[in-house]
């Protein structure tokens, strides 16, 4: 009898520790975003009107509306849970968007509703950051060099194009999302959404030029599911 209790206790303890190691929620969705077809050639940017930026580059920077990588991978795709997960409060850390070398770094910044957005000017020239939302409040602000970071936030989920009023080639995107389950693909096009509690989810991949696609996935327990997205590239 004592032996049986010990085994049961041991099994319970193993089970509990297994759950503890897996964390409060369990499943993961991973995948890759690729394209098929021929993407448009990304044109080089001539920054000659702003010599303080132009001189930072030995070869001209390329437009970033379609950034591709090895294996037909597609970068700067936001992969996120668009349905099935509850809205979450914003984290206390800020999402940082930097203007450096007359480019936006990162080109696409994903962050949450009501999360602080911190915009830094790391250049010697003044920039005027102008996000162009349709749902949120529109503003634009100049940021002379050496002035403190701009702090803003958005209270509605939206994909917001961002431009610089002074430098027409500077373009980026804010992806303002409702929960913390998102990833932005980098070189290689892969993404991983972890800590998903069991349930049915709609995973959406959004690209600024190729639109968005969604797939449904069901997670139970701690499994890892794979969801891949393939976008159709356009030559023009």
């Amino acid at each position: 009898m004592q032996m049986k209790h010990a085994v049961i206790a041991g099994l319970v303890m193993l089970g509990a520790s297994a759950l503890a190691v897996a964390g409060p929620s369990g499943g993961t969705v991973t995948g890759k975003v690729t394209y098929e077809g021929t993407p448009a050639k990304m044109k080089p940017i001539d920054m000659s009107k702003e010599p303080s930026c132009a001189k930072m580059y030995a070869t001209p920077q390329l437009v970033e509306t379609v950034v591709t990588g090895a294996g037909n991978s597609l970068e700067n795709v936001v992969v996120y849970v668009s349905a099935g997960a509850p809205d979450e409060a914003a984290p206390s850390t800020a999402a940082t968007f930097t203007q450096k070398g007359c480019r936006y770094i990162p080109h696409l910044l994903a962050f949450q509703v009501n999360q602080e957005l911190k915009i830094i000017n790391d250049d010697q020239t003044s920039h005027n950051i102008h996000p162009l939302p349709k749902l949120n409040r529109e503003w634009n602000k100049s940021q002379p060099p050496g002035t403190p970071p701009i702090s803003e936030k958005y209270d509605k989920a939206e994909f917001i194009p961002v431009k610089c009023n002074v430098h027409p080639w500077m373009h980026g995107t804010f992806a303002v999302l409702k929960n913390s389950h998102f990833a932005v693909t980098a070189d290689g096009g892969s993404f991983s959404l972890a800590n998903l509690p069991p349930g049915k989810y709609t995973i959406t991949a959004w690209h600024e030029s190729y639109g968005d696609q969604s797939q449904d996935v069901t997670i139970s327990g701690t499994e890892s599911k794979t969801v891949n997205f393939v976008f159709k590239a356009k030559p023009y």
């Binding site: 003044s126 005027n128 100049s142 050496g146 002074v166």
Partner: protein, 598 residues
Amino acid sequence: MHETSAAPAPAAQHHGPPTTFISKHVFSLDHKVIGLQYYGLALVAVFVGMVLSWLMRIHLGWTNAAIPGLQAISPNGAPGGVITPEYYLQLMTMHATLMVFFVLTTAPFAAFGNYFLPIQVGAEDMPFPHFNMMSFWTTLTAFCVLISAFFVSDGPPLSGWTAYAPLSAIGKVAGPGEGMGQVIWATAIGIFCIGQLLGALNFISTVLDMRCKGMTLSRLPITAWAWFITSCMGLTAFAVLMPACILLILDHVAGTSFFIPSGLVINDQLLPHSGGSTLLWQHLFWFFGHPEVYIAIVPGMGIVTHVLVTNMRRPMLSTKALLYSMWALAFLSYMVYGHHMFVSGMNPFSSLVFSFPTLMITIPSTIVVLLWIGSLYGSKLRINSASLFALGFVSMFVSGGVSGFFLAQPSLDIMLHATYFVVGHFHMVMGVAAMFGIFSGTYFWFPKMTGRMMNETLGKTHFWLTFVGTYCIFMPFHYLGMAGNVRRYASFTDDYLQRLIPLHQFITIAALFTGSVQLIFFYNLIYSRFRGPQASANPWEGTSLEWIMPSPPPWNNFGGKDPIVYHDADQYGVRTSTGADYIMQNSPESAVVVRDGD
């Protein structure tokens, strides 16, 4: 001319003496109080306009400097205390709008004119005192509406006081302040036009209908003529600006496209407008804008002539020639407006056509300058604060005027258009010269208006520092312009402009210094108002009717008894029974003019 004057309106037709504080000092029908109210408004406006110019100049000299305290006033406009490019342009727009409308159109014309025109024609008041009171309150309303642009979320417009379309017409997509701020601006200016039209009506009918017995048109003092000419210009010029502002407002709020053609793209969006003309705004604006600059300067010419004649103890060599020249300036001012548009895209042949009257306008301008200078010859010039500023006006008008030789020619405008050469030209010939006219008039008429003399030492100090200071500020603008320095730049990033930045810094220091000097004037005004020595009725030994009344004048000017006039205002350098060298307009004594070498 010896026309019989119209019978004076009976005194009882007008208002009785004001009894309450409100009717004496606030809603007053008395042209003198209204004149002082306008003067007070101009003082506030010039102070605000001057502070705005300091901020602009500091930013131009030291672009990335953090100005202490500015972030608290405008966190968006000056993050970290550094003025942003849009804030610079907004400051510039408000600086110019305040100065041109609420200082240069208000002080020489509405302030001094309201106070002294009825007196100088021998009337108890203007024929429409209620309209007159409304004209001030309308102007004050316009001022408050304009200032409110600072407090809307995106701030004032950034399109300059010239508000060219489509930048000023397409709304907030064009930039910060171009939404609500631009609408507020256009509304304020529209209201201002109404105030000016009401004022012009009063001035014109005062001169035509309210002259006392013996005051024929030929005996009117030159200041009265100057205000009359200015009112005629104002009536026609503001009557064009007001509908232009209405059309601009409609483009903003009613979806019209008066000034917006099709096919415009901003932020990658095609604008939903079509059918309008960009150049239409420029034609409407400058048809007003050119007479406006003469509205700003002609009263000053009148005041300076009046002050000089009194202080030279002799009349102008030919008052008639001066008067005809002022009429010629007013008339020609409507024909020249296209010189603001030489490279605007209008037909280049039109540019040559407009340049012809522009060059011609140098003739009456030269005549008036030569008359001032020539009248000094053989005079008995008295030096005091008023005459110093009057002489300074002549010098400034010459300096500012000769740059017009360049700008009148389209071929040279190719190099000088939209450069600091233009900014130097209009600041000197209009800004500084008109200010000197205002200062001269103030020192001259303060004793009459308040019953006290201003302090001469402070006045002379004010003159010297301002005279030298304004030359230090604005003469270098011409050099900047000749080097190709484009105007309305928030900072100078172009390679070819870098070597000019030290000159900009020199100008900034001169501007801050000269601006601070104006505190001497302001202090003198306040101190003398309460503590200045008593003034007699005629401290300057002048001939015109303002000097026959006590200082300050009673509410009904001539005490219920209309004066009778026997002479023009030019009876200086005459032999009289009392030994005085002048005869007042209402003195029956006949004049014996005495000239050496006659």
